[in-house]
């Protein structure tokens, strides 16, 4: 095929409609044809003399990676044309608003930033679970469906942990978008899922403040500044910004990947539970780091080399979220200790594991209005006190543990919903004591949870 197709041309059964985008690497058309049940686009790379050499490799990478991905957070893959004959990629046209729509109109309200960030973090976690690192997360590569779910697009420079990395040796200079590029990408690393968390931090920063944390440098030296210089704290630019949100953003933007969140699921967790974020001086400060701390960062940056990462799935497996369901209402010390003993083996202080302690209480139906509200609040506080009391012997640092009191007539359903929404990797739940009348009811909860949970479930039983 010479040149680009015209409207009305038919390629392998796909009819070319209007051109919707023309970029450096390729051109995108809307296409119609085989009934898939969703709208489609066709991407055609710019090949041939005078066109960028990367175009063909990024095309191959996108075809390989997209073809291997599934789920609601990526465009559905339809077909690919042979590179030797007619190179093209047909995929779902994702309907929704690009995240770029929120950018450039001044600071976005914090609650909205948290909602958007949570959606992107959920999408990234789904990607990372499939062993793929996106490496080009930026507002124009995220589309928000009407449902609120985020979809990541453009996998041209992505890395799939199980496939040969066609881009690894081919192009020595860092690929990606300067404002969002992680320090390790600047140094050429392409296999760390936490690079995407850095980019997410840069996006959140931009949404909150209307500014890029590190500007848009074009020179290698300009790009390397982020290895040691911290960005202006968002709260210095937007005084009303909540401390917890700055805490999350700056933790994503840590120059050393090991200092960031361990997984996108953990970012999502904090964005979804602002009241559970432990705010440190990082979240409070309104000035950049002092000379002393800057010096430390600078010295660390000199010796900085990207971590060697085993694989994205192993990285994720090393940083699980554990949910423990604590039945505060009817329990005894033996059962409490048995539950803690199990949790102790799973959640170790100082490791990137996180523990969510949850208790589910039934709504109080006999009261209405303000009274009911008051009763519920006091009930909630009592439960929180008990949860903390239960967890105290674990001696976990506050960043690693959170407490949640949920109100529901269907405890198993509430726990399951929580586990799904928060990417929980392991549920620990007690089995009911046999001699308690409530046993039957509790038994139903642990049975239902272990049958339906999306993850591993440990049911803890006390002997005797």
């Amino acid at each position: 095929m010479s040149g680009l197709p015209e409207r009305g041309d038919v390629i392998d059964g796909f009819r070319i409609e209007e051109r919707i985008h023309a970029g450096g690497m390729g051109v995108i058309y809307r296409v119609s044809g085989p009934e898939t049940g969703f709208p489609m686009i066709m991407k055609i790379p710019r090949l041939g003399p005078g066109e960028p050499g990367e175009a063909v490799v990024t095309f191959e990478v996108e075809r390989m990676v997209l073809g291997a991905l599934t789920g609601p957070h990526v465009p559905r893959f339809v077909a690919a044309g042979d590179l030797a004959r007619i190179p093209y990629l047909v995929m779902e046209r994702v309907e929704g608003r690009p995240l770029a729509d929120w950018v450039g109109k001044g600071p976005v309200p914090p609650a909205e930033v948290a909602r958007l960030g949570l959606a992107v973090a959920n999408a990234l976690h789904s990607l990372h679970l499939q062993n793929v690192v996106h490496l080009d997360v930026k507002p124009s590569n995220v589309i928000l469906r009407e449902s609120g779910e985020a979809v990541l697009i453009d996998f041209g420079i992505a890395h799939h942990g199980h496939f040969p990395d066609l881009l690894a040796e081919e192009f020595r200079r860092p690929m990606g978008s300067a404002p969002y590029l992680s320090p390790e990408q600047v140094l050429g690393a392409r296999d760390d899922a936490r690079s995407d968390l850095f980019a997410l931090g840069a996006v959140l920063y931009e949404l909150c403040t209307g500014r890029m944390p590190f500007g848009s440098p074009t020179s290698p030296a300009g790009l390397r500044v982020r290895l040691h210089r911290d960005p202006v704290p968002p709260r210095a630019l937007v005084p009303g910004l909540p401390e917890w949100l700055q805490e999350v953003i700056l933790r994503c933007l840590e120059p050393d990947a090991a200092d960031r969140y361990a997984t996108a699921a953990q970012v999502a967790f904090d964005l979804g539970h602002p009241d559970q974020v432990t705010v440190t001086s990082q979240g409070r400060r309104t000035r950049r780091l002092g000379v002393g701390k800057r010096m430390v960062r600078w010295l660390r940056a000199i010796g900085y080399g990207p971590d060697s990462v085993s694989s994205t799935s192993l990285q994720l497996a090393a940083a699980p979220i554990v949910l423990v369901a604590v039945a505060t209402a009817h329990t005894n010390e033996a059962r409490n200790e048995a539950l803690r003993a199990t949790v102790r083996r799973l959640v170790i202080a100082g490791e990137p594991t996180r523990l969510a302690c949850i208790t589910v209480i039934r709504p109080a139906p006999e009261l209405v209005g303000a009274d009911r509200h008051e009763a519920a609040t006091s009930q909630r506080i009592k439960q929180l006190v008990q949860l903390r009391h239960w967890a105290e012997p674990l001696k976990l640092p506050p960043q690693q543990i959170s407490y949640h009191v949920m109100e529901s007539g269907d405890p198993a359903g509430a726990l399951l919903e929580y586990a799904r929404a928060n990417h929980v990797d392991h549920v620990v739940i007690g089995s009911p004591p046999r001699d308690v009348t409530l046993g039957g009811l509790l038994g139903t909860v642990s049975t239902k949870v272990s049958a339906e949970a999306p993850c591993t479930v440990t049911v803890v039983r006390v002997r005797g």
Partner: protein, 248 residues
Amino acid sequence: MRWALLADIHANLEALQACLEQAGREGADGYAFVGDLIGYGADPGAVIDIVEEHARHGAVVVRGNHDAAALENSAETMNPAAARAVLWTRKQLNQRQVAFLDSLPLTARREGILFVHASAASPGQWTYVTDPARAAESIAMSKGATWIFSGHVHEPALYFASGSGRPVPFKPMAGVTIPVEKRRRWLAIIGSAGQPRDGRTEACWALFDDVKQTLAFHRVPYDWAQAAAKVRAAGLPERLAHRLEHGE
């Protein structure tokens, strides 16, 4: 065609049978044995018989250094354990089996594919392809093959090269189907079926689909306890039994 690729079986009957069984389940309809059918293990005759049967039905078989050594009944360049195994092996083979080994070529070609036990740069010199530089030599001397399938080195590896640069090494993960399109050139070290050395005991084999242009490296558990017991019973060096038990 869906090629089942096996290398370095080394007279390990249990490993060979396990690989062939899995290859059958995965829908293989072509077979290639890229050298070192024998040496080290206790079942040289039985292994040759199975491979010969496949060859009669069109399988590709090329010669490895252990096959050559058994033919020449000499093992001057080998380590003592391997040398003892070579001399022992030769005594187990009947005339027909020796004749089959003698009929094996150093290389074989099919459309776009080169099968060679060690480096294509010098097939009879048995050069180990252990790094990108060696892979580059082998690819350069393959006379334009798109896919080169080799053994000799016992750990699975995949090298890919595009036009200019040095081939890039990749450590494949078992069970993953990798696109290996003909725009690039690919050199795959299948990994040893009969004497894995990467710390795992499972036998290595690979499945190459020449229509879809995909390659999947596989590992299959087999009865290595039995294979090791036979090595000991045959009076072969203890080290050869130990290797099977530990994949080293």
